[in-house]
């Protein structure tokens, strides 16, 4: 399973990687240096220590609520992507190839419309939902599922294009597998790269989403951060960095989990 003939040489890959990473780290470092400013132009940990001060704990309470809400929303959104979007995409690939272009346009539509306009249209729908199912934050996930559609679609489609889904499906069917088995035990492991990427980007989108939650008056991580950050500019930047770190670690853990499971699957069924 070596990609060594495709892959760039050792020097090339490290040069590209380190150059890009270095450039991308500069703004983060600037933010960090800003939070480390103290008093007369010197540097110190004052602002960070203030974050941990128990006297301020009450001020940061909204963040915990927001974080919990965002995590719940992330779970439901990923469920929508994996359970609703992915099987439909596979269905379109297998049975309705001519629908592919319109489907692509449909999936690209949410990103063409800024969230503030989408909310104008979502308002009556959420009013109805609010009156029937309640104003719980989790109902936002339906809107989020639509928001992540373009990204998740692209990630999964890249995988589908790379894997010969038709043959795999037909082979499994001819061996007597039911459709659920075909989906879950044959196609999903092969599409794992795209499915994982779609899940990761969905989680990232949900954790970073602000506009829709704010306009529909719900509390999520970003609205909570925004609320708290209005007290102090240094705290605002420090919290933003912490939120980035949290999201990074979360995605890392999920990514490793996905990669680890893939490695196991790779060892069991040598399909390539």
């Amino acid at each position: 399973m070596s990609d060594s003939r495709l892959a760039p040489g050792r020097a090339t890959k490290w040069i590209i990687l380190l150059a890009v990473v270095a450039i991308f780290l500069v703004p983060i470092v600037s933010m960090l240096l800003f939070t480390l400013r103290s008093g007369e132009g010197g540097y110190g940990l004052g602002h960070w220590l203030g974050l941990g001060d128990p006297a301020n704990a009450g001020k940061y309470r909204p963040i915990w609520t927001g974080l919990g809400n965002s995590l719940a929303l992330a779970v439901v959104t990923v469920a929508i992507v994996l359970v609703l979007l992915a099987p439909t995409m596979i269905l379109v690939t297998l049975r309705f190839p001519r629908l592919r272009r319109p489907f692509e346009f449909l999936c690209l539509l949410p990103i063409s419309i800024p969230a503030i306009v989408l909310v104008v249209g979502l308002t009556p729908i959420y009013l109805t939902i609010g009156r029937s199912v309640g104003t719980g934050v989790w109902t936002l996930a339906f809107a989020y599922g639509v928001t992540v559609l373009p990204y998740a679609y692209r990630a999964i489609q890249s995988s589908i294009d790379a894997v010969d889904v038709k043959t795999l499906a037909e082979a499994a069917r001819s061996l007597g597998a039911g459709w659920l088995t075909v989906l879950v035990r044959v196609l999903a492991p092969n599409l794992r790269g795209g499915l994982l990427a779609a899940s990761l980007i969905s989680i990232a989108v949900v954790l970073g989403e602000f506009t829709i939650a704010s306009l529909l008056n719900r509390q999520n991580l970003q609205t909570a951060l925004f609320l708290v950050s209005r007290q102090d500019p240094y705290v605002a930047v420090a919290l933003a960095l912490l939120a980035l770190l949290f999201a990074f670690l979360l995605l890392l853990v999920i990514g490793r989990f996905g990669a680890g499971a893939k490695a196991l699957a790779g060892k069991k069924n040598p399909t390539n």
């Binding site: 003939r5 470092v29 933010m31 979007l85 439909t88 419309i113």
Partner: protein, 302 residues
């Protein structure tokens, strides 16, 4: 090619065995997704765009759509268009390079996981915080600006604070475009089969010929599709621009925001619907171009 023969073989074998009911079952399989998208995407879009056809009091009017011809708005579309194009192009190329570099690392290794996670996070890093990160870096009192001035005597802003005008928006936009490209293009890049590289070598080709004859043509459809996604992403972003280039609403999403939420110029909410329709129209045109390009690119694959 192998795919075609497999298709015809299975098609031939399947026809007699396929029961009558399958087509309608398959259509039923499309229903949940269609219903979901109809309620949460179709309906809001129609409602939002249709609001452009009415005045505040509910009377039907074509004024809002006629206003799309206003020079300020046309300039806004143009600005949005070229900003999105440039940032999508740079983002796509740099992102593709990073994906290429990723090929050199084990797909379940640490470097890949780190880059995957970092790309996921940074692709969604936008708005006021991203704007501030750039102000802190490249602003008039930014880290890099001061460093260049003190160490090399280069004054970035001798001709004016271009970072707070439209050209200055390119840099923060690229900051989230590149990670987005990495996230969406990497699955395609990793789909390149090493067998093709080996076959290329066996047939006497070089690395270069592999990329030009096999690699690029195979990746082209995914590349352009990701480019399109990046374009659309930049086209509808406004939070970063609102913070960095707060005077003058140079791009369309900012004009939509002004129409919907202004405290001083009231009564223009319906214009936002017309502007949104304009945005969808632009996206449709771009998708049409993309479909043309894809048809071309698909020729290489067969």
């Amino acid at each position: 090619m192998t795919v075609a023969t497999a298709e015809s073989a299975t098609a031939g074998a399947e026809l007699p065995a396929r029961p009558r009911r399958r087509p309608s079952l398959a259509v039923a399989g499309l229903l949940p997704f269609t219903a979901y998208v109809a309620i949460f995407l179709g309906l809001p879009t129609v409602l939002a765009v249709a609001s452009g056809l009415f005045t505040d009091d509910g009377a039907f009017t074509a004024d809002n759509f006629a206003a799309l011809g206003d020079p300020v708005i046309l300039q806004g579309f143009w600005n949005s268009g070229w900003l999105s194009f440039v940032t999508a192009a740079v983002g796509a190329i740099v992102g593709a390079l990073v994906c290429y570099a990723m090929l050199g690392f084990r797909h379940d290794g640490r470097v890949r996981s780190l880059i995957d996670a970092a790309s996921g996070v940074l692709a969604q890093f936008g708005g006021v915080m991203l704007a501030f990160a750039f102000i802190a870096t490249l602003g008039l009192q930014g880290l890099v600006t001061l460093f260049l001035r003190d160490a090399f005597g280069i004054d970035l802003y001798a001709d004016g604070a271009w970072i707070y005008e439209l050209p200055g928006l390119v840099l923060p936009y690229i900051y989230f475009q590149v990670p987005l490209m990495v996230i969406t293009f990497l699955p395609a890049m990793t789909g390149l089969k090493p067998q093709w590289a080996e076959a290329n070598l066996t047939l006497g080709g070089t690395r270069r010929s592999f990329w030009f004859r096999i690699g690029f043509p195979v990746l082209a459809p995914s590349f352009f599709a990701s480019f399109l996604l990046l374009f659309a992403n930049a086209f509808s972003s406004y939070a970063t621009a609102a913070a960095l280039s707060s005077q003058g609403s140079p791009i369309i999403p900012l004009q939509i925001r002004t129409a919907l939420t202004s405290e001083t110029v009231l009564g223009r909410e319906n214009l936002a619907g017309a502007l949104a329709f304009g945005m969808i129209l632009v996206m449709a045109v771009v998708m049409g171009l993309y479909a043309l390009v894809q048809r071309r690119a698909a020729r290489w694959q067969s």
